[in-house]
Each structure stands twice: as structure tokens, then as C-alpha cells.
């Protein structure tokens, strides 16, 4: 089941939650809606589910307009952030709920319901918990029961709102891998909302970056990370050093030095912003040529990489560089020493577009 979102607008009073959002979710893929809190990603998920009505725009399931369909008729599985398990029902009855409320002629018999619920509980590896109440389960178990409950009605798409948001780090990691496997097993078109970039990049086939109610970029995880389309994506994903200044004879001039710009980055005299990820810096003791002059504040060894914290020689602004540990040993940097940072790669955006974070 493919989903197409067309020109969706949604306002809450004066607040624009979604601003002309258009998006394609391919069949059978796991898509992540990623963005900072309050960016509208959950609203978009709720509009797709039919829990929220858009002010304008269309939602198409397999090319068929479902914008006016009630959530009941959309046949979507929705997993709520806090699971919304029915407290007064056992785990078994929670999962069976969607089957028991079917109209009489579509409703499976009791033995069929029993078999199906048992199968679903086995799928989420919790078949031994059927008689318990939700209050007796751990967070991770509730999450999986909520998923089993959503799957019971054989939804056309699966929508998950911050599926791991309320779990602790260890459980989150396990569940993430488990959800990934489950998705492969079922092949169900799925969308999940998250503000955790690691989660989105690790789990999703396709990542949709959302900021202030608008889609910033859609792409595969590796693509959005290495080729960010906007300053927002660049600064939201991973860590970046930002340099703002004017283009002077093909280089970006800043207080602490100059950065060579790729051809066509900006007209002479234009204000631009250049982003360099810490691992893209090369640290050298050479005193001539382009580069940023900075003083070493301290060096941290973290696994295979060493992180060097520096401050601009003249501006005093903090920078970060990451180099292989071996290189750090060879350099033998002393705190306070002035070095030169030369980027291997950088991405340039016109300065006025820089997203205020």
C-alpha cells in the first residue's frame, strides 16, 4: 500500500502545524518522519491516520483519495506513543479488541479470535503474558502488545508515533532491531515518527526531515546525512562546525582564516555559510595555506577516533575535529598549541537561509 500526501495544510489557531506538505511513501517501505519536537511530524502522522483532519490537501492510499474517510474506515494500524492499552482488559483482550468490535457478519468466531491472538502474541514473543493486565507489563512489553493489537485488524499501513520514546536506552536498542526484523518479515508499509536521528538513520528505508511544518528533505539515510539539502538538515543531523563569512576570490574569509570553496559556491562578495563535520577536518601544524587557525583546548580519545576540542585563534569560537587516534599520537598535540584546520569537504549554503535553531 503506497501513501501519497498532497499539499496538506493544518493550523491550530495561529500556529501552522503543517505547511503545504507533499510526500510519497513507497509500498512496503519503512519511512521515518524525523524532526525536532513541535515540528509537526506527529500531526502529519495523525492526519495520515485520520485522527486529525487537514485544513486542505489530500491523503491517497494506493492512489485512492481517503481524505474524508474516518479513521475507522482507513484500516490503519496506529501505535500510540504511550501505547494507550486498555487498562481494564487483559493483554489477550487488548489484542482481540479489533476483532471483537467487527460487525457481526465479519467477526471471526471465538476460536478463530483465540487462534489469531495467540499467533500475534507469539509474533511479538509475549504469548506467555496473555492473562496479565497492562499495568503488570514493562514498557517494552507494552510497546510490543500495542503493536500486536494494531496488527490484529490486518491494517494496510502501520503508523507508529515515537515508538521508542518512552523506553530506556537498552530496551530501545533491542526493540529497534526487533522492529526492523518484524518489518522485513511482514513487508507492511510503515511510517514512524521520531526526534532521534540515530533511530531514524538506523531503522528507516527512507527518512523525511521535517522542520516547522514543512518537508526539508526526503531520502535514504546515507543520502540525507552525506548530502543534506538544506542548512537545517545539515545542522540537525550529526554535528557540524559552522563558518559564516564573505566569498573573497573563491575562498570563504572568516576571522580565524580562510576556507577554500568548491567552484560555484557563491558569487564574489556574497555572504555564505559553510558546514564542516568534525571528521572532515584535517589537523596540521603547517602555518601557510588556507585553513582555520585554532588553539587546542583538549583532546579526548573515544574508541577508534579522537575528538579534539579547539577554540578559534582570534574569534574564540569553539570548534570540534575528529581524527583517527593514530594520527593524534603522531601529532602529539599539547593543550594551548595553535594548529591549522583544513577541511576535506564542506557544504555551502547562502547565509540568509541558515536555520535558526
Amino acid at each position: 500500500m503506497s501513501i501519497r500526501v498532497e499539499h496538506i495544510n493544518k493550523r491550530f489557531g495561529d500556529f501552522t502545524a503543517l505547511n503545504d506538505v507533499t510526500l510519497d511513501v513507497p509500498d512496503g517501505k519503512l519511512t521515518a518522519l524525523l524532526g525536532p519536537s513541535g515540528c509537526g511530524k506527529t500531526t502529519l502522522l495523525r492526519v495520515i491516520a485520520g485522527l486529525e483532519q487537514a485544513d486542505s490537501g489530500r491523503i491517497l492510499f494506493n492512489g485512492e483519495d481517503s481524505s474524508r474517510a474516518h479513521v475507522r474506515e482507513r484500516n490503519v494500524g496506529f501505535v500510540f506513543q504511550h501505547y494507550a492499552l486498555f487498562r481494564h482488559m487483559t493483554v489477550f483482550e487488548n489484542v482481540a479488541f479489533g476483532l471483537r468490535v467487527k460487525p457481526r457478519r465479519e467477526r471471526p468466531s471465538d476460536s478463530e479470535i483465540r487462534a489469531k491472538v495467540t499467533r500475534l502474541l507469539e509474533l511479538v514473543h509475549l504469548d506467555w503474558l496473555g492473562h496479565r493486565y497492562p499495568a503488570q507489563l514493562s514498557g517494552g512489553q507494552r510497546q510490543r502488545i500495542a503493536l500486536a493489537r494494531a496488527l490484529a485488524v490486518e491494517p494496510r499501513v502501520l503508523l507508529l508515533d515515537e515508538p521508542f520514546g518512552a523506553l530506556d536506552a537498552k530496551v530501545r536498542k533491542d526493540l529497534r532491531r526487533w522492529l526492523r526484523d518484524l518489518h522485513h518479515q511482514l513487508g507492511l508499509t510503515s511510517i514512524f515518527v521520531t526526534h532521534d536521528q540515530e533511530e531514524a538513520l538506523e531503522l528507516a528505508d527512507q527518512v523525511v526531515l521535517i522542520n516547522k511544518g514543512a518537508v526539508e528533505q526526503v531520502g535514504e539515510p546515507a543520502q540525507v546525512y552525506s548530502q543534506p539539502a538544506t542548512p537545517f538538515v545539515q545542522s540537525f543531523l550529526g554535528h557540524s562546525n559552522l563558518f559564516e563569512g564573505r566569498v573573497v576570490s573563491g575562498a570563504l574569509q572568516v576571522e580565524d582564516g580562510g576556507l577554500a570553496l568548491p567552484a560555484g559556491s557563491g558569487a564574489e562578495g556574497a555572504r555564505v555559510a559553510a558546514y564542516v563535520r568534525p571528521h572532515e577536518f584535517h589537523v596540521t601544524r603547517e602555518t601557510s595555506g588556507p585553513g582555520i587557525e585554532a588553539k587546542v583546548a583538549r583532546a579526548l580519545e573515544l574508541g577508534a577516533l579522537a575528538r579534539i576540542e579547539l577554540v578559534g585563534a582570534r574569534s574564540g569560537r569553539p570548534f570540534e575535529a575528529e581524527i583517527p587516534k593514530r594520527e593524534l599520537a603522531q601529532l602529539a598535540l599539547a593543550p594551548g598549541e595553535t594548529v591549522r584546520l583544513v577541511p576535506d569537504a564542506l557544504r555551502v549554503f547562502p547565509a540568509q537561509e541558515v536555520a535558526a535553531e
Binding site: 479513521v71 484500516n75 500510540f80 494507550a84 468490535v101 499495568a135 485488524v153
Partner: protein, 336 residues
């Protein structure tokens, strides 16, 4: 779960105290009653028993050291208040009754007028509480779930039966439902339904005074009940009726039970508003509190307290049953 614990705490605060307390009170009451039959001086015994009860509580508390200070002080004040305001006055009922012989007691409490009044008082109170549960729920639903002009006013008006002197309510209701009143003229004149000066009048008055109890117990629970549960039910294909019936109502059961119990207890003790509208026809529309007052006016104190004791014991038993039901439903859904 913090959420569940909170719910349970709220339920406990709204309840009528633990069933253990009720059972303890009943036991002590009965013990005193029997002790006094033997010609012993009962009051000393009662106080001794109650003191034992209280000391037991303090001693139990002493066994543990606590992080929050002030436990024993507040417990002592609680027990003192319980004595002065509730236990000693209530035990006076049994002490007074004890002046009569068994046969005198039996003839007082089984007199036809008294029996008719029990039926009316308990029947009308239960019925009124049941009606209030239904309409109180709808009212609470309307003012928590929807935004409409005048909502705050409706919300404030619900408390009026709490604040109004009950005699005023009685007079107002009587004026409305009497044969020449606005409603009475239509109901009695056109449809032949007699409300004022009949058993129906008692029911109307009891519904009036009990309504806020149900609304005020259900309202906060409804406000806390996340719309997410209803959304989850809808996304699983449930229609509106199924969602209400299978998801919303079960979540409200404990609050509805509490509201029912409070409305019922209030209705049972109501006097002021009922005596105006009931007409107080012997064997037909006399409520038990009226019988008690009548006996008091005839200086039949022991007879009055005998009937009061019947009310007390039956009320205890009913509230105990409701309390047990609450504990059972809370345990079923909120254990963690």
C-alpha cells in the same frame, strides 16, 4: 506505574475509607450492643474498645520509621476527630437503644409505619442514586468533553444543591410539582401523574440533592481520561457506541460506583427537602428520618434510636458492599 498509582490514590481518597474500618466499626458497635444488654455500663466499654483500636494503630505506626515526619501526630488527630465527630455520637445510638428490651426493640423497628418507611427510604435512595449515575455521567461528559457557551455557568450551577439549604430546595420543588405549580399543573392535571405529596415526590427531591455527587466524582476522572484511548479504539475499527461501552465506561466504573455510593448515602440521610414534597402520608410517603423525628417529638428517644440503629446497620452493610466492589474493580484493573 505512576499513572495507575495516582488513579488508585484518587479512588481511595474518594472512597469511604477502607472496608477494614467499616468492618471494625460494625464489630465494635455489635459488641457494645450485646455488652449493654447484660446490664454493664456500656460507655466505658466502648471507650476502652475504641482506645484499643486507636492504640493498635499508633503501635503499628511506631514499629516503622518513616521518611516523612508528622505521621503519628496526624494519625493521632485523625483518630481523635474520628472519636469526637463520628464514633462516639454513633455509639450513642446503640447505647440509647440498649435501654429497651429485645421485644420492645423488635416492636419499634417492625411497626408497619417503620417498615413502610424503610422500603421507601432505601428504595427511593437507591433508585435516585441510579438515576443520578446515568444523568450525572451525561452531565459530566457534556461539561468535560465539549466547549459551549455557558459551560462554566452549568459547571457552577451543578454545585447549587450542595449549597442550598435543603428546606429551600424542598419548598421550591413542592411549589413546582404541586397541583397548581408549573410542572404539577401539566403532569397532574393533564397526565394524571401525581408527584408532590407522593412517593414520586420523594424520588424527585432525592435526585435533586444527589446529582452533584455523581458529577463531581466522575468529572475529574473523565478529564484525566486521555482521548488517546478513544482514538485507539476508533483506529481498531470500533464505532462510537462500542468505544463508549467497551473503553470509556469501564474506565469510569470506579468513579461511578463512588458517585453512586455518595449520592445514595446523601439521599438516605436527607430530611429537609423531602418532608416538604413528600406530604408525609403514613405508610405511603413517610421516610425513615421523619419517623425518627416523630418519635423524638413524642419523647420516645429509645424508639427513635432503635430505628436509627436499623438505618445505620443497613447503610453500613450497603456501603461496605459498594466499597468491596470498588476494591475488587480497582484490583482488577490497576494492580501493578
Amino acid at each position: 506505574m505512576a499513572e495507575a498509582a495516582l488513579q488508585q490514590g484518587v479512588a481511595a481518597r474518594r472512597g469511604f475509607g477502607g472496608p477494614a474500618l467499616w468492618a471494625g466499626l460494625l464489630l465494635v458497635g455489635a459488641a457494645v450492643f450485646f455488652a449493654s444488654r447484660g446490664g454493664l455500663v456500656p460507655s466505658g466499654l466502648i471507650l476502652a474498645l475504641y482506645a484499643l483500636f486507636a492504640l493498635l494503630g499508633v503501635a503499628l505506626a511506631k514499629a516503622r520509621s518513616r521518611v516523612l515526619p508528622g505521621f503519628r501526630l496526624t494519625l493521632a488527630i485523625t483518630i481523635l476527630m474520628l472519636f469526637l465527630i463520628i464514633l462516639i455520637p454513633l455509639s450513642a445510638v446503640f447505647i440509647n437503644t440498649a435501654q429497651l428490651s429485645w421485644s420492645q426493640i423488635w416492636s419499634a423497628i417492625s411497626a408497619p409505619r417503620a417498615v413502610a418507611s424503610y422500603k421507601l427510604s432505601f428504595g427511593a435512595s437507591l433508585l435516585a442514586a441510579a438515576v443520578n449515575v446515568v444523568f450525572g455521567l451525561i452531565l459530566a461528559w457534556a461539561i468535560t468533553r465539549y466547549r459551549f457557551p455557558g459551560r462554566k455557568l452549568v459547571d457552577a450551577l451543578i454545585d447549587l444543591p450542595f449549597a442550598l439549604p435543603t428546606a429551600v430546595a424542598g419548598i421550591a420543588l413542592t411549589a413546582l410539582y404541586a397541583k397548581n405549580g408549573w410542572f404539577g399543573a401539566f403532569l397532574e392535571g393533564q397526565l394524571g401523574i401525581k408527584i408532590a405529596f407522593s412517593q414520586l415526590g420523594v424520588l424527585v427531591a432525592l435526585i435533586f440533592i444527589g446529582l452533584p455527587f455523581v458529577v463531581r466524582t466522575v468529572q475529574p476522572v473523565l478529564e484525566d481520561l486521555d482521548a488517546e484511548y478513544e482514538e485507539a479504539a476508533a483506529s481498531l475499527g470500533a464505532n462510537r457506541a462500542q468505544t463508549i461501552w467497551r473503553v470509556v465506561l469501564p474506565a469510569l466504573y470506579p468513579a461511578l460506583l463512588t458517585g453512586f455510593a455518595m449520592a445514595f448515602a446523601r439521599a438516605l440521610g436527607e430530611y429537609g427537602s423531602v418532608i416538604f414534597i413528600a406530604g408525609n402520608i403514613p405508610l405511603v410517603s413517610e421516610i425513615t428520618p421523619l419517623i425518627i423525628i416523630t418519635k423524638l417529638e413524642q419523647y420516645d428517644y429509645a424508639g427513635a434510636t432503635a430505628i436509627a440503629a436499623v438505618m445505620l446497620v443497613v447503610s453500613f452493610a450497603l456501603l461496605l458492599a459498594i466499597n468491596a466492589l470498588q476494591v475488587w474493580s480497582a484490583r482488577r484493573t490497576e494492580r501493578s
